[in-house]
């Protein structure tokens, strides 16, 4: 496990998101779908982000500013420095035939690096608005759908090997529709390396830590359920929830704003 203080070398707006680029230092980019814990200046806990871009010497993260933590990261300026730990967890299995990337909202975050490593396979990306969909420009060979059209509406009859990241409901539906998809899940997470037991998801009736078992898992692992106090939050609110980074289910997004508990990976 490596942790270094990295310097911001760029921060560009991509629709409502910020693409925060850090000098790589001695950190490796890892496998697409792995994640990094980024210090959120002024907050007690770091936030998990999957790697978005990996140009030589850099690590790029797509950030949706939703709460104090993600906002402070999205507002980092060139020359600022933050501690970064990673890469962590298990990424996508790249040994697949006919890959198809399926993403929703901030769930496109791991796809630029993933697409690069897979040779620009086709992608289907769903967004809330055309403004959010500006992030699709980061992913080559992408078909874009906007609410109320869902990515699952746009799936081909024979989708091939699906690699997906996005809102939990989207991933749950994909797990039903597609055999053996690779799903980048998300869960509230304090540490990212198995210490806190916060990021549990349910698999075969057991709670497992997503940071160690995932964040990329096969179908059959169920996303971290929302607090029972929060059930009943309109599903629609969940669509477009940040998956590449923080507050997953927007219920939680508001809950903690990203304040934490809603920090997720994907």
């Amino acid at each position: 496990m490596r942790r270094e203080r990295l310097r911001v070398c760029g921060n560009e707006a991509v629709g409502p998101y910020a693409l925060v680029r850090l000098g790589r230092g001695g950190l490796e980019p890892g496998v697409p779908g792995q994640f990094f814990m980024l210090e959120a200046p002024g907050r007690p806990l770091p936030r998990p982000f999957s790697l978005c871009t990996a140009p030589p010497g850099e690590l790029g993260f797509l950030v949706e500013p939703l709460g104090p933590g993600t906002t402070t990261i999205a507002e980092l300026g060139v020359g600022d420095e933050i501690h970064v730990t990673g890469p962590l967890g298990h990424g996508f299995d790249l040994d697949v035939k006919r890959p198809l990337l399926v993403g929703g909202g901030i769930g496109v975050a791991p796809f630029p690096y993933l697409s690069d490593r897979l040779g620009a396979p086709p992608a289907i990306l769903g967004f809330r608005t055309a403004f959010h969909a500006e992030a699709a420009a980061l992913v080559p060979n992408a078909t874009v759908v906007l609410d109320p059209v869902l990515v699952t509406d746009a799936l081909p009859a024979d989708p091939g090997a699906v690699l997906a990241c996005g809102p939990e409901p989207m991933l749950d539906v994909l797990a039903q529709l597609v055999p053996g998809p690779q799903l980048a899940r998300e869960a509230p997470m304090a540490c990212g390396y198995g210490a806190c037991y916060g990021c549990i998801v349910e698999r075969a009736g057991r709670y497992v830590r997503l940071c160690l078992e995932g964040p990329v898992v096969r179908g059959g692992t169920h996303g971290s359920p929302t607090s029972p106090f929060l059930q009943g939050t309109p599903t629609r609110d969940r669509v477009g929830a940040p998956a590449g980074q923080s507050p997953a289910p927007p219920a939680k997004e508001h809950v903690s704003d990203d304040a934490s508990s809603s920090t997720v990976v994907g």
Binding site: R3, P46, P188, C191, A195, Y197, S227, F229, D257
Partner: protein
Amino acid sequence: MSVPILNASGCLDALAAPEVARSLDVFVTKTITPEPREGNPPVRIAETEHGMLNSIGLQGPGIDAFVADHLPRLGTLGVDLWVSVGGFAAPDFTRCCALLDDEPTVAAIELNLSCPNVEEAPETAAELVSAARAATKKPLYAKLSPAQWDVAASARAVVDAGADGLSLVNTIRGLVLDALTLRPRLARAIGGYSGEPIRPIALACVHACATAVDVPIVGMGGVAAGLHALELVAAGASAVALGTILFSDPLAPGRVREELRSEAAARGFENALAARSIAVAGFEKSLQIASNSTA
């Protein structure tokens, strides 16, 4: 003589992050219960402005699987090992401690008498310590809650019951509401509050107990830097544990150890332990915590 740096129980998995465990002087396991436990449903953690709440609920393999599967692997780490034990009644503590008593890799047992996220045992802390004491010769550290009016009285009671040391403090119950919905952010609403805001509470508990009993104290609660550790030592701790800081900084043990050394030196102390109890009037003690070599 240096001040040993431990992890707070439940804040590190040595099998998932062995290099972090090896950077400690003692690794303390997550609390082990007699039976396997899935723990509490999510959402389990929530950040606050300056700390966090957790409601994990003692997720773990149970003592039998722990002894059979986890303990042999923990024994190869090359770091002193304490096992944290918990339960819901005195026989739970008896059973766990009896099973650990013959394990040479276990240097000490910490009794979690104060988990804020599960039902409390009906017995008093002292009765639970007595039950554990009867089952093992291992050094016993009683981990107490800061949420009591007279923690010193509790310290006296558990020491009288056979505790060899104290771990101070556990988390303290807290509640965080979502600003928009005004609903609890944790599935079980209440969680254990930890991090920098509880540091003065931990200091007060260590200070109170250091004047009340003559046993080693592992101080913990909001330690994020060497100065925080030195303050706990000044209040009477002879070892310091790191909790929440490990989540944001896995390299904290080495950093805090180095900072502790330099903070002590900057104040003219030969070593950090020389500052022990100077915040406690008229009190002199120098007791070492248990290690494999002394167990």
